[in-house]
């Protein structure tokens, strides 16, 4: 059972990243994969600051700013240098690997028990932070600024004709997404008790899965409301982790974890594009 509790907490911790991916992919229609780098960046900053005795709250603030800075780099390269968003993300992600190593000073930093939120508190912190993140995103998208953000992704020509600075909007969106990704790194490092330079490799798939599962769920239940879709992204993040935990529980060789991860995401994308309700029974 503890196995599944772990999966749920991990799902929640990754939900922040899922919300970030939702913003870039669904609101701005930009495929941003800076994620792998900014997730580790969040983790690296967390490990270094906590082991140096800084307060977790200050650490969180610094993590948010570092994540945003990573996003701004990608956004700037994409909008100002007019480089394809995927490539811009890959460039920054690659560069961040060295930055993260420089921050950490070594490939792995364990957290001693009394650093940061202790193991019991981290559950509470995860729940509270995800709660805040969800409500922040829902609120933001409802504001006038949020309408401008959504119009930028939906119809940039129209947004511009209505006085929206679409370059600023895109950079802001990618920055916000990566700040949220870094929060996931902050949470996971404290939950697992260490930061590792390779912790971010391929992590973007967890966020993508959360968005895709969340979107599919809200589509089956035919909710059009953006707030409900956002809640389902959190659910999607948990579902994804639980499904992985289940496959491991069924005795799957852990070496195949990434393969199974990719297949699960492929199945969900594929099925949600097919006649959906019929296939969902198969998934169950």
């Amino acid at each position: 059972m503890e196995f599944y509790t772990t999966a749920i907490i991990q799902g929640l911790a990754f939900a922040c990243m899922g919300l970030g991916i939702f913003l870039t992919l669904k609101i701005f229609k930009i495929p941003d994969i800076t994620t792998d780098g900014t997730y580790t960046l969040g983790g690296a900053v967390t490990a270094v600051m906590l082991t140096n005795g800084m307060s977790p709250l200050l650490t969180l603030v610094v993590v948010i700013f570092c994540g945003a800075a990573g996003g701004i780099a990608t956004g700037w390269i994409h909008t100002r240098l007019k480089i394809n968003a995927l490539l811009a993300g890959i460039l920054v992600m690659t560069a961040l690997y060295s930055v993260n190593l420089a921050i950490m000073g070594r490939p792995n930093i364990p957290l001693i028990d009394d650093k940061g939120f202790s193991n019991q508190n981290i559950y509470l912190v995860v729940v509270v932070l995800v709660f805040i993140a969800v409500f922040f995103v829902i609120w933001l998208l409802k504001t006038d600024f949020g309408i401008a953000m959504r119009s930028t992704g939906s119809n940039p020509v129209m947004a511009q004709a209505n006085g929206v600075n679409i370059v600023y909007m895109k950079v802001f969106g990618i920055a916000l997404a990566n700040a949220m990704t870094a929060i996931s790194g902050f949470l996971m490092v404290q939950y697992q008790g260490f930061a590792d330079i390779n912790m971010g490799i391929g992590i973007v798939i967890s966020g993508l899965a959360a968005v895709i599962i969340g979107e599919s769920l809200s589509r089956i239940m035919s909710y059009k409301n953006i707030a409900i879709t956002i809640l389902f992204v959190v659910v999607g993040s948990i579902v994804f982790r639980v499904v992985l935990a289940f496959s491991l529980d069924m005795g799957m060789n852990p070496n195949y974890l990434k393969l199974v991860t990719a297949i699960i995401v492929l199945l969900i994308v594929g099925l949600s594009n097919q006649k959906f309700n019929k296939h969902l029974i198969l998934l169950k």
Binding site: N155, V157, M158, Q160, N162
Partner: protein, 256 residues
């Protein structure tokens, strides 16, 4: 109101596909004018509109609105003076956003989009009032994503959005080209009445010469990147359809 001085635009400069879309165009539009721009495809009409809206920067020349030189002002900042209607009925609204959110964004065209939830009951009542005047039933569909509306409904909504915030200039690029004949008439009437009501200076690009005669008080012809004829209804009287058609006769239809 708008003054264009020696505007030139060249696309694909220095390559074999070089096109001189506008050649030293100078033109002034007075406040309250309804200017109709006609001309063959590729004669530079849309480029002219894009230069005024700030979406295309001229190679040289000067654009000013109300005496302010806006040549270097980028499109989203010019939106405080300029509202636009596009040929594609889908282009003027954001499909995934609701009717309400589209109107909210348009109501803030000239001001900043802040961190406040602006779609309050007061705002909803005022847009319901405006929407009901369109008599398209949109006042009951405030939360419907605009992508679920028809082309005619979307174009009507775009028109309403164009006049929902202070604006000086309305640019319309073949607003009815993608609509059926009945809807076209309705949209043009709506455009005319809304632009009169909001006291806007209007530039309309169209291939419909009847619309040109009916709505324009100034009709100009563009040929090959140049402004070749100006007909002022006030001075020269209402032109016959055959007269406008004869303007076209000498034109070579260019390959671009």
């Amino acid at each position: 109101m708008i003054d264009l001085k020696n505007i030139s635009v060249t696309f694909n400069h220095g390559t074999s596909t070089e096109v001189n879309a506008l050649k030293e165009v100078s033109f002034s539009v007075k406040k309250g004018d309804f200017v109709v721009v006609i001309g063959a495809n590729g004669s530079g009409k849309s480029t002219l509109l894009n230069v005024i809206s700030g979406n295309i920067a001229p190679d040289h020349g000067e654009v000013s609105i109300d005496g302010i030189d806006v040549t270097k002002v980028i499109a989203h900042k010019r939106a405080q003076w300029v509202s636009r209607i596009f040929q594609d009925p889908m282009a003027g609204t954001a499909g995934e956003l609701s009717v309400k959110d589209n109107l909210r964004l348009a109501s803030l065209r000239s001001s900043s989009k802040g961190l406040k939830i602006g779609s309050d009951p007061d705002f909803q009542r005022s847009i319901q009032q405006e929407l009901s005047e369109l008599s398209l039933g949109l006042e009951d569909r405030l939360d419907t994503p605009v992508e679920n509306l028809s082309g005619g409904q979307r174009q009507a909504l775009t028109l309403l959005m164009a006049v929902s915030d202070a604006s000086k200039l309305l640019l319309m690029d073949e607003p009815t080209a993608a609509l059926d004949p009945k809807t076209s008439v309705r949209i043009m009437d709506l455009a005319n009445s809304l632009s009169r009501k909001a006291d806007l200076t209007t530039l309309l690009v169209t291939h419909n010469l009847r619309d040109a005669i009916e709505f324009g008080n100034i009709i100009i012809l563009m040929e090959d990147g140049k402004l070749t004829r100006v007909h002022d209804k006030g001075k020269d009287g209402t032109p016959e359809l055959s007269e406008l058609l004869s303007w076209y006769s000498g034109i070579k239809i260019s390959g671009t």
